[in-house]
Point group: C2
Chain length 351, copies 2
DNA sequence: CTGAAAGCGCTTACAG
DNA sequence: CTGAAAGCGCTTACAG
């Protein structure tokens, strides 16, 4: 057995009891300056690392995290994925005395955000993990967390002018940029490219705008660009909406060579073109079941993924490292920008 | 505090001491059939899960894993990556009483494989993780492990007719298939495609042949294929070798539209074409520094990656789950087939 | 075949 | 300000 230094070893070297060592270790006062310095020196010298196992075994303390994200209507919904990540972290950190309370808000109803946020504050958690989807409400909530000095971490996306201990999210700009590159690579010299936003409140959904920005900038940066770029916004009520907007643009569907949809609703565009018997190259986001089916069918070419299960799992673990292990954690945790096709989807792992 | 069932709870319910409960828990005999059955029933009923923390804290037992893979000449070498994965697992499992001894063989010299393998057997490890690169020697080694009933797990690739408890590796066939799809998507209607093997002993490197197979079958399955496929094998001594082989095939370098190299030596092909001032689309494998540089420079278009650090890390953890936690582990652990471009490389994580 | 006791490294009152 | 002791859930000899 390779022996690690124990509290006891430090105590012996310092000629004190382990209780005193523990006091300087956890900085809970009641130690004379002289002995404190002496002990600290030995700690540094021996490079002492506490045994986390023994520590959480002995401690009866519980720590409570609250998680906050949109409610997933069913298993097929995107938001059921981060939920799984939370469950996994929950099971794993259970034996370390971590409890997790999950809270949800309705995507469509921002008042439910504020109501649930109030419940979270009442429950007095030690830390919060949240997906700041409703921008305005989320900012108000983080201000209250700041006041109460409750640390929080973001998943999925980021909010400006807030003070989280960190975030786990994908760079929206760069994912859009990559989508553009793929389309450029697949299209050859020239073609008609259609960017579609399928969203209710585009102005309150910052990451979709960033994806668009990255997408457009790719082509702007390209020296010689002979593609024709079109853009449309639809609310997501039926596929004929897309056809109508195309008509407004004076475009026949069969003229479209490539389509980029800025979120997981790419299936609506894919089905639209499928019904029209037109086959542009189509790129969108996220591995929800309907998208997977269309990918395998060849109606979607690429899905850009961001391991939402892992984001939540990692965020919880970062909170744990920060609060329990007292590690200094990395603040910016960018998720990889994964490219999924029908050829590699069967090997894609959530974690 | 949510209370988990403890040995003590079972003991009380059964009206015995915790020592006896421990005996049936670890199946170490010396218990009458009657009490054993009674206790077992209570265990099942309460769905008892041992507290791993307390268990490894109390146990002074050490468990030793041996790892075996090609020696990495330097940090830039592919094999330094799995090595990092091993280090990480080592640090993490240390407090659970796991020790790891690392052994290496020379890629070029198969006799070093056998010599080191002998050392591993002498050290009598509890389990072995190995990269079975030298096919013939590796098979002989696994036979000896089988005889001694030492469990082993593969990383990187798989060997037929062996009995590992599992493997963590990428499907070579499917990665080749995906490479073909990318080239097909990027090339449009027609083009000259060159497949290059850069390897010393191609017949002893099964996975390269599988990558080729997947690549070729993609085009065979395609209904209408107007691409022209060429193939060459070079030993990897200088780039002019590729030019010479092209001449032998009667091809002018500038006629080549796309290149697929079946391993991490893709940088040699990329540099070759760069020097010729020709810019075919190039796809290869693995994020070693020189490949990364060429990718960023635009001289390589895609790198297919397989998280080698993670493979080793995961394999060690599977051994731990199998031997220490006594979990039934998943045997086939296929790594994802990751697509890296200059646009997403900065966000790619090793784990 | 079974139980009682010591100990793993740490935390937590409590006594002085 | 400091120390001694009990306890977290489990393992490991040892006594009977």
């Amino acid at each position: 057995m390779v022996k690690n230094t124990r509290i006891k070893d430090i105590a012996i070297r310092a000629g004190v009891s382990i209780g005193t060592v523990d006091r300087v270790l956890h900085d809970r006062g009641e130690v004379s300056l002289a002995t404190r310095e002496k002990i600290q020196q030995i700690i540094d010298e021996l490079d002492y690392r506490p045994n986390l196992l023994a520590s959480s075994l002995a401690s009866k303390k519980n720590i409570v995290f609250a998680t906050f994200m949109p409610k997933a209507a069913n298993q097929d919904n995107y938001w059921s994925k981060p939920q799984h990540g939370v469950e996994k972290a929950k099971n794993q950190l259970r034996e370390y005395g971590v409890r997790i309370k999950q809270f949800y808000f309705e995507m469509e109803d921002s008042s439910s955000f504020s109501a649930e946020a109030e419940k979270i504050l009442l429950s007095e958690p030690d830390a919060v993990m949240l997906a700041p989807c409703a921008k305005r409400e989320a900012i108000r909530f983080t201000q209250k967390l700041d006041e109460r000095k409750i640390p929080y971490i973001f998943i999925d996306s980021i909010l400006p002018n807030t003070h989280p201990i960190g975030f786990v999210a994908q760079s929206s700009y760069d994912s859009g940029f990559l989508a553009a590159k793929l389309i450029d690579w697949g299209l050859g010299e020239e073609g008609v490219i259609l960017l579609i936003h399928i969203a209710r409140e585009l102005d309150n959904a910052n990451h979709l705008l960033l994806r668009e920005k990255g997408f457009l900038q790719y082509f702007e940066k390209k020296s010689s660009n002979r593609h024709r770029l079109l853009k449309m916004e639809v609310s997501g009520n039926g596929e004929e909406e897309i056809v109508r907007h195309l008509a407004d643009l004076g475009i026949n569907p069969c003229e479209v060579n490539a389509v980029f949809v800025t979120n997981s609703k790419v299936n609506q565009a894919a089905i639209c073109f499928k019904n029209l018997c037109v086959t542009p190259k189509i790129i969108g986001y996220d591995l929800i079941p309907i998208n997977i089916a269309l990918l395998k069918e060849g109606k979607i070419d690429f899905l850009i993924c961001q391991k939402p299960e892992m984001q939540a799992f990692q965020a919880i673990n970062l909170l744990f490292d920060h609060l329990v292990k007292k590690d200094k954690i990395k603040k910016e945790n960018f998720t990889s920008i994964d490219l999924i096709t029908r050829e590699n989807i069967n090997f894609y792992n959530s974690y």
